[in-house]
Amino acid sequence: MIYLDHAATSPPDPAVVTKMLPFLTGRFGNPSEPHALGRQARADLDEARAGIAAALGAQADDVILTGGGTEADNIAVLGRCQGEPGRIVISALEHPAVTRAAESLAARGWTVAIAPVLADGQLDVMALGELVRPGDALACVMAASNVTGVIQPLAEAAAICAHSDVPLHIDAVQAAAGMDLDVGLLPGDVTLAVAAHKLGGPRGVGAVVGPGVRTLEPINHGGGQERGLRSGTENLAGAVALAEALRIRQGDDAPAERERRAALRDDLEQRLALPVAGGAAQRLPGHALLLTAYRGDTVVRLLDERDIAVSAGSACASGDPQPDPVLGAMGIDQTFARGAVRVTLGPTTTPEEIDALVAAWAEIEQGLDAAREASA
């Protein structure tokens, strides 16, 4: 299997697995207990927390471990909106972990303003500046789109929010594997969400990080762990794994690896010669959203039959294919939007795998053209 769907989830990084394994066997203590095993667990957890903080430019106290990316986003969004209904602003690019949370607020009387996206796939920062008002409870801007991979103007967004004293939440779940993230460089009450499984780590662990966590209110209740924002016995193995994954993906060797990945991606795009969503903007290094003239899920199946895993830009679950709203917001024609195929490379991707995809594409393209022409 040639795996080119790293944006969906990443293959486990052996270094991360090695680091995590002892905590799944002998070092199983509960960090809240005073005995030796508990004290050891506390020390290990503190170390992991410090590692996560260091990788993302945050203070260790400002790291809230969660059960994954979606929970991190929910804690950061809903934890900001526990009082009387007010107003929030979210970008048109957000993942359902943010948009659905916002919809739940709207259902409770909150006003949700949507900041538009430009044709190149970047947030319209001018529009964001006009939308964000003093008194807003929150603004949400994704670090990079999980659909197109386009990197968003975080510094500008943070400056706008800080100027109006509005907290900013950044969903960096997709971005953390492909760009430097330093929450310490951003002004204001910023929170940032990450998840381990996009970084070579396991499912079920993530974090909300940044000075903004200090003013969040809990959305679930229990033993008071994680500043009371995420009660429940800490996932120590997961925390260790997340710290190790971030150390690798955000570390000193990361830029060289990202450059190699971007070169492979650029090579692929050039050889396939298909339109690319957000191709003119700066994108995550291994990310390509190819706009084919066919149906995305048909292409995905044909490549799957050739042992190549990629992902469709839109899902047809109920006989009513909805092109991704992000592509609609970018003004991409529906015919191309429903033909979108997401190819995402990872640190393990090889040039030979790219060759294999190009060869498979050549094999199916002719048949797909014949089928489409004969359909009318």
Binding site: Y294, R295, D297, T298, V300, R301, L302, E305, C316, G319, D320, P321, I364, Q366, G367, L368, A370, A371, R372, E373, A374, S375, A376
Partner: protein
């Protein structure tokens, strides 16, 4: 594995058919080339999701090389057994398209050698034809389901009530496939429009009250199915009408069905006797209630589908909006009595039928008023009390005389009590009926079924 090697189009095909374009805009098209009765080549086109594309590719492979009848046995269950598909609903689009192409091949003239063992079954997707099919299969016949696709009016209030709605076609096909039998859908929408709907609309526009069911059964549906059944080598064909065939003096006559509440003999009044010779009516001796009960014990899903109704192409709707959808302009005009005194206004004279009381909205004293006459050129509806509607003398045109007769029971509506009458046929194809008592709802364009006892001995169209 989706095999795209049969993606493409056959130039000058022997059959072509498409389906799709609905909510998800999937489109599938098949083209076929026949060598004798064998599908020598099958090509498909698909602009569609993975499930639909996979189904189309699989069907092209499965159908190629098969005999036409065997290809017509391919259905959804085969697709689901033969390939991995997430969404059966999507696969249906591909099955529909293949069957459209197979039906088209038959309409274009594909023919099979005669087989005494093979019978055609006219299928509507409802319970009656399901039982006719089952009976033929139980007798050991090769039963070939034949469903005509005659009319689609998506803007009708309830298009699924039309007798040839897509779901009805699929139901008929599924029934055949469940019995391992072939099914053909014959798309005759263009012909049906020209032969039945346009005369119906034109008749109304001229102020007549045409009976499209008799026209449809009498000269269109029966002709079409008979031609197709012959071409497919069927020794006979069967339909689920509640009517019987009786031989009298060497002539084959349509007679009333055994179920007085469901008798459909009048609908068959115009059917050509030459065709009747090849038709069987297995439900003629049956009571509908018993048929439905038996269908339920046999687990026939069709037993639960709603019955299509008379004038099925109205799609469960009213006449006036249908006429407007067909381009008949309805202009408000006067409702007058026989002296010309204006009593009110109508919304379009041609949408009214002699005898009609409902929807007039006018009164004269305490008299209940009915439509006496529709004067289409003057866009005027003339009303009168019921006794003024009564008439004794009725002129007929297009008369078909099955056996010589001078006394008949005249029926102008399906299941209406026949009125005893003297009958005199003229040499020019017209005839005169002298009724023993008043008939109140006789309108030009209606079909008069003329009975002697239970048998239809003559029929004609009311001229004036």
């Amino acid at each position: 594995m989706i095999d795209l090697s049969r993606a493409g189009t056959i130039e000058l095909p022997d059959g072509a058919g498409s389906a799709g374009g609905g909510r998800c805009d999937d489109r599938v098209r098949f083209t076929l080339r026949l060598e004798g009765a064998r599908l020598a080549e099958v090509r498909f086109g698909a602009d569609a999701c993975a499930s639909t594309t996979a189904a189309a590719a699989w069907l092209a492979e499965a159908a190629e090389g098969r005999e036409l009848l065997d290809a017509a046995r391919l259905g959804l269950a085969d697709v689901l057994a033969g390939t991995t598909i997430d969404s059966p609903e999507c696969a249906l689009t591909a099955v529909d398209a293949l069957h459209a192409a197979l039906g088209d091949a038959v309409v274009r003239g594909a023919s099979l050698a005669a087989d005494s063992h093979r019978v055609g079954i006219a299928m509507s997707g409802g319970v009656d034809s399901a039982m006719v099919l089952t009976g033929a299969v139980e007798e050991g016949h090769e039963a070939v389901g034949l469903t005509l696709r005659l009319w689609i009016d998506p803007s009708a209030p309830n298009p699924e009530r039309a007798c040839c709605a897509p779901s009805a076609v699929r139901a008929a096909r599924d029934l055949c496939h469940a019995k391992g039998m072939p099914h053909f859908m014959l798309d005759l929408r263009e012909d049906f429009r020209a032969a039945v709907v346009e005369p119906f609309v034109a008749g109304y526009a001229a102020g007549e009250t045409p009976n499209p069911c008799a026209t449809c059964n009498g000269s269109f549906r029966f002709d079409a199915i008979d031609a197709v059944a012959s071409r497919l080598g069927c020794s006979e064909w069967r339909t689920g009408h509640y009517a019987r065939l009786v031989e009298r003096d060497g002539a084959l006559l349509v007679a009333r069905g055994a179920d007085p509440d469901k008798d459909q003999s009048a609908m068959l009044a115009l059917v050509d006797p030459a065709i009747l010779a090849r038709v069987r009516l297995p439900l003629g001796e049956r009571i509908k209630r018993d048929v439905v009960a038996e269908a339920e014990t046999k687990g026939l899903a069709a037993a639960k589908t709603p019955e299509s109704q008379e004038v099925c192409f109205l799609g469960g709707g009213e006449l006036a909006p249908f006429l407007e959808r067909q381009g008949v302009e309805l202009v408000p005009g006067p409702i007058v009595d026989e002296e010309g005194v204006e009593l009110g206004t109508h919304h379009g004279a041609v949408a009214f039928t002699p005898g009609q009381r409902r929807g007039l909205g006018v009164s004269r004293g305490t008299d209940a008023l009915h439509v006496l006459k529709v004067d289409a050129p003057a866009n005027t509806v003339v009303v009168a009390t019921l006794e003024r509607l009564g008439r004794r003398e009725v002129e007929l045109r297009d008369v078909r005389l099955r056996v010589p007769c001078d006394r008949v029971g005249a029926s102008f509506r399906v299941r209406a009590e026949p009125i005893p009458a003297a009958f005199e046929a003229h040499a020019d194809g017209t005839a005169t009926l002298l009724l023993d008592r008043d008939a109140f709802q006789v309108a030009p364009g209606q079909v008069a079924a003329l009975y002697d006892g239970d048998c239809i001995v003559a029929a004609g169209v009311v001229a004036g």
